[in-house]
Symmetry: C2
Subunit: 353 residues, 2 copies
């Protein structure tokens, strides 16, 4: 329970736990012999990004030009926009401005996106995105060479290939997704090599697959891009990626009602986010009540079925572990450090374009 009287719901960051997770993933990357490039869309915080860089990260990953602007302005000199960016004239101007203060590589999965960048006179280093089984964006690994050749002919430097093994987000597929990722990146790098282009980077990674990632020694990754690991969340707990006691970020909520013999909290989807994977046990978890389940979520209500024991009293505060922390953070303006009053800004909150 939090001792603070800050208005709930708010984000509470246990910095010691986050630091431990930052160091553990850095050690994992060293053991694998790969560069660690954490995805900063999770935390959107310049200060947390700095902690990752100080622990040995080679740079940061971002999802949007808006995030790149914030992190470049915050002094991060090496960014990768791991996204198949579509650049029109205004976005080209913004990206050009970021390129003046930082090294920025950009994801591509179409020749049209390369044409668009070239048409606007902008040629960042590019990384070809391939689909390793998540079936979102990215070309097939065998087609990486074709995109790479087109890019090189159009005057782009091709850094290598990347994938997001998002199909690691089920309890059964963490290891197999990591295997798919390694194979896809190897095939993609070979496809590039067939066009005379050396893939200096084979970039993959997600928090659930990181434990099973294949390093460059095994012909797999040269770079890892996990995001959620520094905080953890209910999804990661239920996937088995972290223990509940390792979760660094919680939402402090107040018990506002005992209607129906349940616990109603003032943290709803506008504080937690509405994510719920098919395999999730609820809309989030309670850090200090492992058997309780959030069975319903409205914008300002979490309905909790308490399992045994007395209900926490009206007006008391509990720590909610959100399902998917990236969306939770994007809903808040600040992290309260421990019980406060120190607070760190969510610098790139809302910078999603």
């Amino acid at each position: 329970m939090s001792a603070t009287s800050l208005p709930t719901p708010y984000l509470r960051l246990d910095l010691a736990k986050a630091q431990a997770s930052i160091e553990a993933m850095a050690a994992r990357a060293r053991a694998l012999g790969v560069g660690l490039r954490p995805h900063a869309k999770t935390h959107k915080s310049v200060r947390l990004g700095r902690l990752q860089l100080e622990a040995g990260a080679v740079g940061l990953t971002v999802a949007t030009v808006g995030e790149a602007e914030v992190f470049a302005a915050g002094g991060c000199a090496d960014l990768f926009i791991a996204y198949p960016l579509w650049v029109d004239a205004p976005k080209a101007r913004r990206l050009a401005a970021v390129l003046e203060r930082a090294s920025v590589a950009v994801g591509v999965d179409s020749t049209a996106s390369l044409d668009a960048m070239a048409a606007h006179g902008i040629r960042p280093e590019v990384v070809v995105e391939v689909d390793s089984g998540h079936h979102r964006s990215g070309v097939s690994p065998e087609a990486a060479g074709e995109i790479g050749r087109y890019a090189a002919d159009a005057g782009f430097v091709v850094r290598g290939v990347f994938t997001f093994p998002g199909h690691s987000y089920t309890p059964q597929t963490r290891a197999s997704a990591a295997a798919d990722e390694a194979i896809a990146l190897a095939v993609a790098a070979e496809s590039l090599a067939g066009q005379g282009i050396a893939a200096s980077v084979r970039s993959g990674g997600s928090t659930p697959s990181a434990q099973f990632a294949v390093g460059s020694g095994g012909g797999g990754l040269t770079e890892l891009r996990p995001g959620v690991y520094l905080f953890g969340d209910a999804q990661q707990v239920e996937l088995g990626t972290c223990a509940m006691e390792d979760v660094a970020l919680t939402v402090v909520a107040t018990v506002v009602s005992h209607a129906g013999g349940r616990v109603i909290l003032d943290a709803g989807s506008k504080a937690l986010g509405a994510d719920r994977a098919p395999w999730a046990s609820g809309y989030g978890r309670l850090a200090e009540a492992p058997d309780a389940r959030i069975v319903a979520l409205s914008e300002h209500h979490a309905t909790v079925e308490w399992s045994g024991g007395r209900l926490p009293q009206l007006g008391s505060r509990v720590l909610v572990v959100p399902n998917h922390v990236c969306n939770t953070v994007n809903l808040a303006d600040v992290y309260v450090i421990g019980d406060g009053p120190e607070a760190w800004p969510v610098d790139a909150r809302g910078c999603n374009s």
Copy 2:
């Protein structure tokens, strides 16, 4: 398709459509003989709240003290916090400040919450919350009198009773939820009357149930609190509450990839919200492609299965209709009016405590 070159994703508001829906609901309330008190948590906009008041709304509903602060500062003189508020010392001070500039009634569903307000020296008008079948917060209708008596004895003015018929949010239960609502409010008012307290207000309403609401003439509601109706969203379209062409708020997104023969958009859960009801056909809809379905959603990707015809070309813009517009609005800083450049602030964005 939008002609603007604003960076996507962003909120696009068709003001003429919103105004038509504002007027239609005002007419509905007049026909029912009930006061209309729209829920401003949907739009969080002082200007849109003013349009509702100009169309005849008796006041606005809000969910949090933070929203009450914004709307009171914006000149709205009559607010109802339709939430079982827990008031500690800092919140009591904030609420007292709002009470100096506006009439503010507060929801209650426990004697403890009344004790907490009294302990902090604050006694707003209260409205007893009852559960009409949604099973979230609120006491049973039969218990309203007990709470009301406790409140009156503690020096509170009891305005009446309220409920949220949230079980109206399925395609089959819109009418039955409205019937439940009317019965619950009548029983609750009778329970109050048994304690010698006249319920001058019996407040209910949601957008899906509004069409079926029972007015005061039938012994039902005296006040209606729908929220979503002024914008509409994919949930409302699929519930049958509005037609796709009536939807006033969309998220403008760019086609960034054709991976896998599908359409990948740059509007993900950080722009749309992650809501998906069990009966929803996807993670949102496309305004101008009725057969397309958003089959997967990540933070920055919507994966769209296109049904027949050519895919929209890379770099083109489409209008996404989010599933649940309240969460969508809370993710944005501004509404772009039509194709811009005029933009209205989401004044209470993030004011969720």
